[in-house]
């Protein structure tokens, strides 16, 4: 878990329809996110076998929870976390653009969007998810 959460830009592309920077193991085909180059968790192949695998920022909501208690100063509670199973395979946890879980249900189509944040004077870009119809 990082201090900077999703401000690390190497996690996603900045296109209009942002993609997540996943990795794929050349040896066994395992596709995963977040990216790392230490070695394949599934088969143990070394890092040089792990190639970039862009993952479309689209998927289905598998679970969600509104966080009411948060000690970090980077974000004020309440905010809502979603577990999204991407169309390209991996499941990712992300902050949702809506603060509460109002109107959310498991199975909702979700889409990744880039959000400009300004926390303690530091501007950053984060990848968050929103409901499909709200993204358009």
């Amino acid at each position: 878990m990082s201090e900077t959460a999703s401000t690390a830009t190497e996690l996603f592309s900045s296109a209009a329809e942002p993609e997540l920077n996943g990795r794929r193991c050349r040896a066994c085909g395992y596709v995963f996110f977040p990216p790392q180059s230490y070695g394949c968790e599934y088969c143990g192949a070394p890092g040089d076998q792990l190639e970039p695998k862009p993952l479309r920022g689209a998927g289905a909501l598998a679970s969600f929870a509104t966080v009411h208690l948060h000690q970090g100063k980077d974000m004020e509670a309440p905010f809502t976390v979603g577990l999204i199973v991407l169309e390209d395979g991996p499941a990712v946890r992300a902050i949702l653009t809506q603060r509460t879980d109002e109107g959310l249900k498991i199975g909702d189509r979700m889409r990744a969007v880039i959000v400009e944040t300004n926390s303690e004077g530091a501007r950053a870009r984060e990848l968050r998810f929103c409901k499909e119809e709200a993204a358009r």
């Binding site: 878990m1 990082s2 201090e3 900077t4 959460a5 999703s6 690390a8 190497e10 996690l11 395992y30 996110f33 977040p34 990216p35 790392q36 230490y38 968790e41 599934y42 598998a62 679970s63 969600f64 929870a65 509104t66 966080v67 009411h68 208690l69 948060h70 970090g72 980077d74 974000m75 905010f79 976390v81 577990l83 990712v92 946890r93 992300a94 902050i95 498991i106 984060e126 990848l127 968050r128």
Partner: protein
Amino acid sequence: MKKTLRQMRPVYVAGIGLHRYQRMSDTPYVTLGLTAIREALADAKIEWRNVESAYTGTAFIGMAASRPMLRHLGATGIAMAQVENASASGSTAVRQACLDVASGLTDVSLAIGVDKPGPIAGAPGKTNIHDLVGRRVVPFTHFALLANEYMNRYGATAEEVAMVAVKNNRNGANNPYAQRQKAVTLEEVLAGPPISGSLTRLQCCPVGEGAAAVIVVSDDAIEKLGIDRSRAVRVTASVSRSERVYRGAKNFDAELTRETVAQAYDEAQISAQDLDVVELHDAFTIEELLYVEAMGLCSEGEGARMITSGAVDIGGKCAISASGGLLAMGHPIGPTGTGQVAEIARQLRGEAGVRQQPNARTGLAHMVGVGAVCVVHVLQKDS
């Protein structure tokens, strides 16, 4: 040839002792630990000089915790080391003590879980692998996500999930070592401050300080030291596993528990139906539902019904978290897994007083830790 614990020299829990789990205070960890160890020595009716190795389960105290504490029992020169395995540190300390005795390296070994949790950054934050949420997802939100998914999948209600806290606080109210010693109603649980998702404050375990000691011995020690065999409880399985990649599986916590417990059943040559008492990692209410299913105590999706049916109350088919569990007894990290083994031993001796599960013969202790790791022990009392 490889052997299981049960195929090695028999290992028995002969002494148990605790320092109450409590809110963080100025009490030095030395006092916490010595209180538990002296109680365990008195319980086994042996002397410190009889102990041949010691493992200190702790995650937060810092480097070299053992000797600055243990020297005050008399510096006998024995082997000692710290064991850190996140929330399973105390369970792993028990395992190391058991392995010393089972292998024949020692006849008497000590596991002492002691901790004073504080703001120390764990190694998982130092891998330089970043994700989209960082510290915005802490354990209570990880489990709030699992609770939401579970309720949706099986049609369970937030009230049914919260009933775990009602049951475990009822048990904890009768445990003098518990951090929370007050029965609560379902209304009180649900009315508490919301933490994350459907989880309220009383559905999240308190993390304080404390200590728990377990002394394990061989048959030779029982003979030589005149230990009361009728109060000795045999450890018939000790299994330690870590998470694999469960491709397409529902959640790794349940899968890891499922395979670790299955191996423990196999090594102890028991089945879920044989269990009379279970202490499990109920850091959050939803976990108890997930794990009773993963342990095969009921079928998938039946966990909520099992909790509310009374089958896992004291006096039911299998008492779960008779100590109060992590939810009521508390989760001081290092001591928790050791304290579970102490509770199971107390139950199998028939010495648990008002918390006593009638005719308890077989018990299981289960912890998971960040990583993720899982450690399970099976204890059995000869009929």
